[in-house]
């Protein structure tokens, strides 16, 4: 798109060094939306029992329209098929979507706040806090270790550790990124020590449950977990998308942000609060799925550039698609057993991380 200047020059305002530029972006987002839908259907059909795609469509249609038709069971579909699709695989698939989307969005925001490309949603100790909560419930038997007790306890742990990190990371009400990261590292070490100590008291069955939780899984998902987590994720992602311009200013540097009229300290607090809440709500239901929050934002910036007006939405979609596929692999690689998600994201993530480091030529000191 060309704009004629006062001096009579033609300036191309769609010139871009990024892979996806100008109107190509809309097409790209449309393709991603299609991929989301396609992945949901594929994910629901794959598992220990395969369900043909056409049956998946019928079951989904029947359940979505159930309030109108009065029956969730489509003709010709076995009740067990209906149960597998709608009660087990659908919530787990959608939870994968929500977890991937929110970890990716939280990663984008964390990297902007601390202006360090190697930051991820867990740098502020969220996952260590959640681990203490979850592991305590699984092993100490204070409460019955039902999934919802584990979730609640993990969420409380995550919020507790965040509170500590924020208290330690501020100085006279000013939050400096460097201080926050150091506080996050310190609190993470402390909480990991506590988690390890609790594990020493556990029996082998509990240990296995702990390991699965720590590495992350969406296998036990129920509709009720999904409701709460997705409400938080949708609200906060929209809130953050509206802040895309000041986020760009902040990513360009602190002085730029001040110069462009961003109330830096208050804005950072808002961003950290939103990113932390996003992270805590999904970690509580899915455990510590690693690398998504680090990897996806980078992948997306390589495609569309660092402008948050594009990065946030794209990251949510790509993160969601990615984690749904990870969950599909988790179900089939060691069938009939299931692989924790963290192992798969780690196997893909670590080489990617090394690639980023070698490409950027520095360790991302943020200057």
């Amino acid at each position: 798109m060309f704009v004629r200047t006062q001096s009579g020059m033609e300036v191309d305002l769609h010139a871009s060094p990024h892979l996806i530029k100008g109107s190509g972006y809309r097409l790209f987002v449309s393709v991603l939306c299609l991929l989301v839908m396609l992945t949901v259907v594929v994910s629901v059909s794959i598992g220990s029992v395969s369900i043909p795609l056409n049956e998946v469509w019928v079951v989904m249609g029947a359940n979505v329209s159930a309030p109108l038709t009065g029956s969730a069971l489509a003709p010709g579909i076995a009740p067990t098929t209906n149960q597998i699709v709608w009660d087990f695989r659908m919530p787990r698939t959608l939870l994968g979507l929500v977890v991937g989307a929110s970890l990716a969005v939280a990663g984008v925001v964390m990297q902007a706040v601390v202006r360090n490309p190697l930051a991820d949603p867990y740098i502020l100790g969220t996952v260590s806090g959640a681990s203490v909560g979850a592991v305590a419930v699984i092993t100490l038997g204070i409460f019955a270790a039902t999934p919802s007790a584990v979730t609640t306890s993990a969420f409380i742990g995550a919020m507790g550790s965040l509170l500590l990190v924020f208290l330690l990371g501020q100085r006279r009400g000013i939050f400096s990124p460097g201080r926050l990261i150091l506080a996050g590292v310190a609190i993470s070490y402390l909480l990991s020590a506590i988690t390890s100590y609790i594990q020493l008291q556990a029996n082998p069955n509990e240990l296995r449950a702990v390991l699965y939780w720590l590495l992350g899984s969406v296998a036990g998902a129920e509709w009720i977990d999904l409701g709460a987590a997705s409400a938080v994720v949708v609200t906060l992602t929209l809130l953050l998308v509206l802040q895309a311009r000041p986020l760009n200013a902040l990513l360009m540097g602190e002085e730029s942000a001040y110069a462009l009229g961003v109330d830096v300290n208050r804005f950072r607090l808002l961003l950290l609060g939103a990113a932390s809440l996003l992270t805590a709500s999904v970690v509580a239901v899915s455990g510590g799925v690693g690398f998504v929050g680090l990897m996806i934002p980078h992948m997306v910036r390589m495609l569309v550039g660092p402008d948050h007006r594009r990065v946030l939405l794209t990251s949510a979609l790509v993160g969601g698609i990615f984690l749904m596929w990870v969950d599909i692999f988790a179900r089939i690689v060691i069938r009939p057993a299931e692989m924790p998600l963290g192992i798969i994201t780690g196997v893909i993530g670590a080489p990617f991380f090394i690639y980023i480091m070698s490409r950027s030529g520095n360790t991302g000191g943020g200057s």
């Binding site: 020059m9 202006r115 802040q243 360009m252 540097g253 001040y258 110069a259 109330d263 402008d307």
Partner: protein, 259 residues
């Protein structure tokens, strides 16, 4: 717009960096802020663009206190800044950097409109970067980066411009280019400068700082005397008016052994 600083003191970690500075920049004039490294120039500038709240004193833009009468956003609609900063970790394009200048003018749900696009295009053309909008900012030369940041300030559409050593790391040609450009904008400009000859050539008034205080101000001819340079910078200098240009010319001859 007139910029007035009255009795500004700034403290960092309870150390006073800027001490009771009073300064005035008349509308459309260029004011140079001079002084040795660490004398508090950047800190003083930061208190004008709301990056660092002064412990005492007021900063006024057209009579409005930037810290109490204006929000961060309102202040950024009046004052643009070219600070010392090299953000290169994230691959923003030149256009994206310049477009960020529109940030204070946009509400939550606003998209770029025709006026924004015009401002962005005009700003790029003004600094001679109209054909480099698609380049990655981090890959530009120092002079080009500085011009892009000036373009961002122009896109911000303000009447006040603050620059913190805009000629740093630039070779002579780019130094002159950037100062010519800034001078031609006829904005109310306050700029920290290292090069005294640049200050003499471009600034309507200069303020000389030492250890957080203004020790002298006036025109370059009044302020930049050999004695003053010797006491503030600790350097011996010969100051003359060149007959060919009528400009003040300062030649440094060595370290002042007294200071």
């Amino acid at each position: 717009m007139r910029v007035q600083l009255e009795d500004i003191s700034v403290e960092i970690e309870e150390t006073r960096i800027v001490n009771a500075v009073t300064l005035c920049a008349e509308p459309g004039t260029m004011v140079g802020l001079l002084g040795p490294n660490g004398c508090g120039k950047s800190t003083l500038l930061r208190s004008i663009y709301r990056a660092l709240k002064p412990a005492t004193g007021v900063a006024l833009i057209d009579g409005q206190n930037v810290w109490t009468d204006l929000s961060a956003r309102e202040s950024a609609k009046r004052t643009a800044v070219v600070a010392q900063e090299r953000a290169a970790d994230f691959d923003f394009s030149v256009l994206e950097v310049v477009a960020a200048g529109r940030t204070p003018h946009k509400q939550l749900f606003d998209r770029d409109n025709a006026e924004d696009r015009q401002m962005i295009a005009d700003a790029l053309a003004r600094v001679g970067m109209h054909d480099k909008g698609g380049r990655i900012f981090g890959t530009l030369s120092g002079g080009e980066k500085q011009r892009v940041l000036v373009a961002r300030a122009l896109a911000q559409g303000t009447q006040v411009l603050i620059l913190d050593e805009p000629t740093n790391h630039l070779d002579v040609r780019y130094q002159i280019e950037i100062l010519d450009l800034v001078h031609s904008l006829s904005l109310t400009t306050i700029t920290a400068l290292h090069d005294l000859n640049h200050a003499a050539a471009y600034c309507d008034r200069v303020y000389l700082m030492q250890q957080g205080q203004i020790v002298n101000h006036g025109t370059a001819r009044e302020v930049l005397t050999a004695e003053q340079i010797a006491t503030v910078y600790g350097v011996c200098a010969e100051v003359e008016i060149r007959p060919s240009t009528g400009r003040l010319h300062i030649v440094f001859t060595g370290i002042n052994p007294v200071v």
